[in-house]
């Protein structure tokens, strides 16, 4: 049950400093196989021979030693699962879990910007989530508005372009307006593209694509026989990016399901199921998932040469 003990506006980082997410483990569990990654904690100490120095901003932008720049994914998608459980483990209201989740997200955005990932898609709110208790849904909608407003300046400085996908007709009017403003303000940014999926599902995406295709067949613009994968692809909401297909999907909290996220686009995506709850997902978990990704051989149905 969600209970509001504090109005959202008074929730700030000072409160959350007492509930800092604990350090994430370095294990990535997939199926019945759990494997500790052959990656050491990345060295933040680089310097001349025999010297130890703290990392400068320049050095921190460098990838960890375990990661090869040429094998970095262009598009990473994340199912941010586990906020509710994180809060329950600490006997806190669910809203605290969502707020802690926002911190994890901003940290991830930082890393993606630094490590040259081109697109980050996050599953913030699915079409199924509308069935959650109204109070929780209202809290989430307010949280989205607050976070978009609070983080916009920082994201502008980071040259992040924001796109919001999903059925915006169901969103509160104020959030719809904010969505348009944020997309407009950041449209010329050329750094990381952050795609936030709100009121979205993979099946919804395909159905809405089909509706526009049907309109075109109705108007005689195309015939049913002319409908191809490329035609459908153009109508999907991920047509807002040059890299619509995620290379890597990360789902936190140990659940091994797609839960109706980015259905079409995940055809050849490498999946990584991480045990950490989303607020606990940190740099170590992300490096582990990227390590795992870089070791995989992607054949797309063909054969290794």
């Amino acid at each position: 049950m969600v209970s509001l003990q504090l109005p959202l506006s008074t929730i700030n980082n000072k409160i959350f400093s007492h509930f800092n997410p604990k350090p994430a483990s370095c294990l990535c569990r997939v199926g019945n196989r759990s494997r500790a990654f052959p990656c050491n904690k990345y060295s933040i100490f680089r310097g001349g021979e025999g010297t130890i120095t703290t990392a400068t901003a320049e050095e921190e932008r460098l990838l960890p030693d375990e990661l090869r720049p040429e094998l970095m994914p262009k598009h990473v998608a994340v199912i941010m699962d586990g906020n509710g459980r994180w809060a329950r483990q600490r006997n806190l209201p669910t809203s605290f879990g969502h707020r802690a989740g926002v911190r994890a997200l901003t940290d991830l955005i930082d890393l993606c910007c630094k490590w040259g990932i081109r697109v980050l898609t996050v599953f913030a709110f699915s079409t199924e989530n509308w069935l959650r208790p109204k109070l929780e849904v209202d809290i989430l909608m307010s949280l989205f508005e607050m976070v978009l407003k609070e983080e916009l300046k920082i994201l502008m400085r980071q040259d992040v372009r924001i796109s919001v996908i999903g059925d915006s007709k169901k969103l509160p009017k104020s959030l719809q307006k904010l969505k348009t403003e944020v997309e407009d303000t950041t449209k010329n940014n050329s750094g990381l593209q952050l795609i936030i999926a709100i009121s979205f599902s993979g099946q919804y995406d395909i159905v809405q694509a089909c509706k526009s295709i049907v309109e075109k067949t109705k108007d005689g613009v195309i015939q049913p026989n002319d409908i191809t994968e490329a035609v459908i692809e153009q109508e999907l909401e991920t047509n807002c990016t040059k890299f619509p297909h995620p290379d890597l999907l990360i789902r936190t909290s140990g659940e091994q399901r797609i839960s109706n996220f980015l259905l079409w686009q995940l055809a050849y995506t490498e999946l990584a199921f991480v045990k950490s709850l989303w607020p606990d997902f940190g740099k170590a978990d992300f490096v582990d998932a990227l390590c795992e990704f870089q070791q995989r051989k992607r054949r797309y149905g063909g054969r290794d040469s």
């Binding site: 159905v207 108007d219 049913p224 459908i232 659940e255 109706n260 999946l271 149905g301 063909g302």
Partner: protein, 300 residues
């Protein structure tokens, strides 16, 4: 002397056979016990398999070309048998993707030949299909298959149509995106046909001549249900569990629409190495995850 030696060898052979039979019986008993314990918990109604790793298996065992896929087929029969024993009603397997046509033509041809050979075997009286009442469906863009394979596939579907115990869906010349394209095309054709019918019925000849422009949006809007009706696997429920072998953690364009809420499990074992024990192990994991999945689904 020679006779004594022969008798000794013969005794040893008999003993060995007896021992092997005993081991097989014990293994069978233990397996039966394992499955009985499993059946106390929830059993997935529909399991989908991505049968990956046949060629790597052949390479690791130093087998000839095509042997990996033959071993893979034996594994499929063994898993099918286990699914029948455990009570799984629907089994779907990813036999051949449209992307696989990109492979070496000799390999593609050998897989097609194997399919012909095995379909023939399965339709025989003494096969598992008859004894266990298995209905076989083939789903995919079957137009891409050669005529002999298309005919064999059609024959298998007709001859097993009356079986009702287990439904085996074999996805061949299949990708999920191709399935969705097919569903969209069919839905569009249905909507256009419906629209024409409405126009004729209302005797609005001017509308009919102008085309479809006067039709209301309601007449032609596509829904989720429209698409689902035209999916290849429309007659099967969505999979509860999807298992991919050989350690790869991706869907490879398999059942993207149907696995939205499915529990996904990856096994390191290559497909020909998968035994009923592995299947039971995965079902145990599924049973552990199911209460939480059910809890989330109740909210929906």
């Amino acid at each position: 002397m020679a006779q004594e030696l022969e008798m000794e060898n013969s005794n040893e052979g008999t003993l060995q056979r007896l021992f092997q039979r005993l081991v097989a019986m014990m293994s069978g008993f233990l397996q039966w016990l394992f499955f009985t314990v499993l059946s106390v918990g929830p059993i997935p109604n529909h399991i989908a398999f991505i049968m990956d790793g046949n060629r790597r298996y052949a390479k690791s065992q130093k087998l000839g070309p095509g042997a990996g896929h033959k071993a893979g087929f034996s594994s499929l029969i063994s898993i099918l048998e286990s699914c029948y024993k455990i009570g799984v009603k629907y089994v779907t397997v990813y036999a051949f993707s449209i992307d696989n046509f990109k492979r070496d033509p000799i390999e593609v041809q050998s897989i097609m030949d194997l399919m012909l050979e095995k379909i023939d075997e399965l339709l025989k009286e003494e096969s598992i299909v008859s004894s266990h009442g298995i209905r076989i469906n083939f789903f995919g863009n079957l137009e891409l298959l050669s005529e002999p394979v298309r005919m064999a596939v059609a024959k298998a579907m007709v001859e097993t149509a009356k079986n009702t115990n287990v439904v085996l869906s074999v996805c061949v010349a299949y990708t999920s995106t191709n399935e969705i394209v097919h569903a969209v095309q069919e839905s569009c054709r249905e909507k256009i046909a419906q629209a024409l019918l409405n126009s004729k019925f209302n005797c609005e000849m001017r509308d009919f001549e102008r085309g479809y422009n006067t039709l209301s949006k309601v007449d032609c809007s596509i829904t989720l249900e429209d698409l689902e009706r035209h999916m290849y696997l429309a007659e099967c429920p969505d999979p509860d569990l999807l298992i991919r072998t050989s350690g790869e953690t991706r869907l490879s364009n398999f059942l993207l629409w149907q696995t939205t809420f499915c529990y996904l499990h990856v096994l390191d074992a290559l497909w020909p190495e998968v035994s009923p024990w592995w299947l039971g192990w995965v079902i145990l994991h599924y049973q552990r995850a199911k209460p939480y999945i059910d809890k989330r689904m109740k909210v929906l």
